[in-house]
Amino acid sequence: MTEIRKEEFILKCTSACAGCGGSLCLRYVLKAAGPDTVLVVPACCTSVIQGIYPATAVNIPVYNIAFAAAAACASGMSSAFRALGRKTNVIAYAGDGGTVDIGIQALSGAFERGTDFLYICYDNEAYGNTGMQRSGATPLGARTTTTPGGKPTTKKDLDRIVEAHDPPYMATACSAYPLDLYKKVKRALGIPGPKFIHILAPCPPGWRFPAEQTVEMGKLAVKSGMWVLYEREYGSLTISAPSKAAMRKPVPLEEYIRRQGRFRGITDAALTELRHQADLNLRRLTREAEGIC
C-alpha cells in the first residue's frame, strides 16, 4: 500500500460545506505535492473555503487569481521558478467552471507552450460557490438553478480536449478514491511538462444528497461507469483498478441517478442518452487501453 504523508497542509478548518468532496480532494492533492508547492486558484469553491482575510486555512503559498487566468499565471510562475533553478511544484487548482468554460483558453495555451506544471480540475459539475448554476460540465438532465427543467445538452468532454494537446501525463480521479488520487498526483509531479488531472468531486448541497454520502456517491459514479478512472502516460492508456472492477460487475446507472435530487424527474430519453454516452466512453477507453485504436 502507498505510504501516505502524515502531515496535513490544511489547517483546521476550511469553511467548506460539511461533507465537501472538493475539500477531500484538496487535502490529498496537497499531501501528495508536499511543502515545496505553490497553488494557483481561480475563482471557485477553493478560493472561498480558504477562510476569511487576513487568515487562511491553507498552509502553503496560494495565489488567488481571476477566473480566466489560472493556467496563464501558473505558466509565468513555473518559468520564473525554473529560471531561478528551483523545482517548486506549480499546481493550478480550478473548478469545472474555471476549466471547461472560462479558463479553457488559458489552459489550452499553457499546454501548447509545454509549461512545466500540473493542472487539476476538480469537477462538481456546476458553479458551486455561487449557488449551483449550470456549467459546461453539467451532465444532461441535471437540474441546476439556471436549468430548472434539467440541462438540455450533454457534458463537455474536457478530457478529450486536453488529450488533443498530447500532454505527457493526464489522468482522471475521484474524491471517493483518495489513495488512487494521491498516487496519480505523485506520478504527475514526477514528470516534466504540462500534466492534467480531472477529479470528480461530488457536492452534497448542489447534487442534492445527504452530506454523509459524498464518498458513497463518488464510488457509485465509478461503479456505474458514469466516471471512468484512467491514466494516460506518454500516450499509453491504463484503466485504473476501481474502474476495471466496475467494468466486470457494473452497478446499474439508475442507482447513481436516483440517489441525487438534481436528477429528480429526469426523462427516460435523457436517461437512455446518459447510459448510451457512458457506454460509448467506456468502449472507447477500453479499445484504446487494449491498443485497438
Binding site: 502524515k6 496535513e8 490544511i10 489547517l11 483546521k12 478548518c13 476550511t14 469553511s15 467548506a16 460539511a18 461533507g19 465537501c20 468532496g21 475539500s23 477531500l24 487535502r27 473555503i49 480558504q50 477562510g51 476569511i52 482575510y53 487576513p54 487568515a55 487562511t56 486555512a57 491553507v58 498552509n59 483518495p178 489513495l179 452534497p204 445527504p210 452530506a211 454523509e212 454520502q213 459524498t214 464518498v215 458513497e216
Partner: protein, 81 residues
C-alpha cells in the same frame, strides 16, 4: 515592513470554530472499532487524528466517517443545543 499586497497568513480556525455548525455529533464505540482508519482517510476536514480521536471543536458533523465505517462503530447523535 509594510505589506503592499493583501496577504492572508495560515492560522487555525480561519473560518471560526466550525464545530458549531454541527447538528449530529459522531460518537465512536471503542469496543467495536478495529482501528482500520478509514474514517480518518475519508474525513474531508482532517479532524480525525492518528489515534482516531475526533476534534469536536472543528468537526462539522457531515457523517462520512459513520457512513464509511465498515464496523458501524460510529453513531451520529443529535446535539442538544
Amino acid at each position: 515592513m509594510r505589506e503592499r499586497l493583501a496577504v492572508s497568513r495560515p492560522v487555525e480556525a480561519s473560518s471560526g470554530r466550525t464545530g458549531s455548525w454541527r447538528t449530529f455529533r459522531p460518537v465512536v464505540d471503542r469496543e467495536v472499532c478495529n482501528a482500520c482508519g478509514l474514517c480518518a482517510l475519508y474525513c474531508p476536514e482532517a479532524v480525525i487524528d492518528d489515534d482516531l480521536e475526533i476534534d469536536l471543536a472543528f468537526c462539522k458533523g457531515c457523517g462520512i466517517c459513520a457512513n464509511e465505517c465498515p464496523k458501524k462503530a460510529i453513531e451520529m447523535i443529535r446535539e442538544d443545543r
